[in-house]
């Protein structure tokens, strides 16, 4: 099987906060139309890595490419165009808390499409239904449970049918059944639309369901990468231990 072209590339990216080096010369290649799961202990820089891909953080050194465009060198307006092709689920969902759930999902469409109000509403409800939240459409984000907020955030991330979907811990706060449904949804997106997925998760069963490849971050570096089977045979005990865990959160 030939390797598809890269949708995202990190080229020797380093990032420090103060004197604390979070990413230390990380290079990463995310193939197009595949699902890549990012693993690693809490606080190793998984969320920081995702933030670099949408340009919410700038690397101290190194370059980030999306579809072979170096986003670290783009003007704000050019970056905004790239961002329209990327959906991003924040770890804390980051819903706009002064508008309803449906309006949160509608927001990117209202901004970036010429769809009529009715079509926007219909699509927002469709996305919400896909994550099992149709009934919460008119709720305010503040009144949702943690898992519901997460799913609403995912619906918003999918609003523009992005070619690339970055998902930070989709199953955190979800029961096993809902979690599996979300995994199925992500996999379906990949198969049906060819969406490139980058999923951060601590949930190994979920990672196995989703991943074509896995990347294991540790202490600012990529400690291991490959298929689930590759990681199970990895020379590093930490990685093998991770892969043996059953539940997660």
């Amino acid at each position: 099987m030939t390797e598809p072209p890269a949708a995202i590339r990190l080229d020797r990216v380093s990032k420090a906060f103060g004197s604390f080096r979070v990413l230390d010369d990380v290079s990463l290649r995310i193939p197009r139309g595949r699902a890549t799961v990012v693993l690693g202990r809490s606080g190793t820089g998984k969320s920081v890595t995702l933030r670099h891909i949408v340009g919410l953080l700038q690397p101290d050194a190194g370059r980030v490419f999306v579809d072979d465009v170096e986003i670290t060198a783009l003007s704000p307006s050019a970056l905004a165009e790239v961002r329209q092709r990327i959906g991003f689920l924040f770890q804390n969902a980051a819903l706009f808390d002064s508008i309803t759930v449906a309006e949160n999902v509608a927001f990117p469409m209202r901004r970036h499409t010429t769809l009529s109000d009715g079509e926007v509403r219909a699509r927002a409800l469709e996305k919400l239904a896909a994550v099992g939240l149709a009934r919460a459409a008119e709720s305010m984000p503040g009144s949702l449970s943690g898992g519901m907020r997460k799913r609403a955030g995912l619906a918003r991330a999918m609003a523009l049918d992005p070619a690339i979907l970055l998902v930070d811990e989709p199953s955190a706060g979800l029961d096993p059944v809902t979690s599996e449904e979300i995994d199925d949804l992500l996999v379906a997106l990949k198969h049906q639309r060819g969406t490139t997925l980058v999923v951060v998760t601590h949930n190994i069963p979920s990672a196995r369901r989703i991943a074509d490849t896995m990347v294991f971050l540790h202490e600012g570096r990529v400690l291991a990468s490959g298929t689930a089977a590759d990681l199970e045979r990895c020379e590093h005990e930490l990685v093998r231990k991770f892969m043996q865990s059953e539940a997660g959160g």
């Binding site: 340009g55 991003f88 980051a94 819903l95 808390d97």
Partner: protein, 261 residues
């Protein structure tokens, strides 16, 4: 200079510089398309329309008090007939803009500082950026423009309600009819009294909104940081506004020499 003093001074200067750059960017972006009409209109409603009860009530009360003071002073010269005109002149030229500025610093400064601060610490500003929205234009420029639109209107309301308040106090003493009062009130007020004061309030609006936005979007430190941003917005906006007022009054006297006569 002791080392720590230097550190404090340098860091203050640096943050002052960043704030100036922020203000400069806001000024440029006001005139640069695309314009966020809908969000700006919403902010005019939030920041302006919803300040109306406060401004109207304050204007009325200030008018009553000013009228009583003006009367007490002018009585000594037997010039009670001038009360409405003196009151109107004071309101239009200085008291109106300044009181509105301080009230709006309080209400809008705290509101914007806290709202943007909360959006910052809950990553909603990042979320806007992630959905390809220019958060500076969407959050900051809209509020700045809204404040600059609202201030002159609020000041006009303050002036009118102030004069009505003045008439209330006056009619209680002398029974002067409203029409007579209103006519005498504006007998001395000229165009050159009104325009600079009004333009001045637009500058106040810019200062208030930029200060609160700057402190809001640079909030760190969770809930406490949000409270801090709100408090600092009110204090800083008020001080900057009062300081700017001194400069602006000087400038107005320079540009419109007839107002200094």
């Amino acid at each position: 200079m002791p080392g720590f003093v230097r550190t404090v001074v340098v860091s203050r200067l640096a943050s002052g510089g960043r704030a100036m750059i922020f203000a400069g960017r806001a000024l440029r972006e006001i005139f640069r398309p695309p314009f966020e009409f809908q969000e700006t209109a919403r902010q005019v409603y939030e920041l302006g329309w919803r300040s109306l009860p406060l401004i109207a009530a304050a204007g009325y009360a200030v008018g009553i008090v000013m009228s009583m003071h003006t009367r007490a002073s002018l009585e000594r010269f037997g010039a009670e007939a001038l009360v409405p005109a003196v009151l109107a002149l004071a309101l239009v030229r200085e008291t109106g803009p300044l009181v509105v500025g301080l009230l709006v610093s309080g209400r809008v400064g705290a509101g914007v500082g806290a709202e943007l601060g909360a959006m910052k610490v809950t990553e909603q500003i990042d979320a806007l950026e992630a959905v390809a929205v220019d958060s500076f234009k969407f959050l900051v420029v809209t509020r700045v423009v809204a404040c600059m639109i609202a201030m002159p209107i609020l000041t006009a309301v303050m002036n009118i309600t102030g004069i009505i308040g003045g008439w209330t106090a006056e009619s209680a003493v002398s029974g002067m009819p409203f029409e007579t009062y209103f006519r005498t009130a504006f007998s001395l007020v000229q165009f050159t009294d009104y325009v600079p004061g009004t333009l001045k309030t637009m500058v106040f609006g810019f200062i208030i909104a930029v200060t609160a936005s700057y402190l809001g979007v640079h909030t760190s430190g969770g809930t406490q940081g949000v409270g801090y941003a709100a408090t600092r917005s009110v204090v800083t906006a008020s001080i900057l506004m009062i300081a700017a007022n001194v400069v602006l009054v000087r400038l107005i006297f320079f540009i419109f020499p007839e107002t200094a006569e």
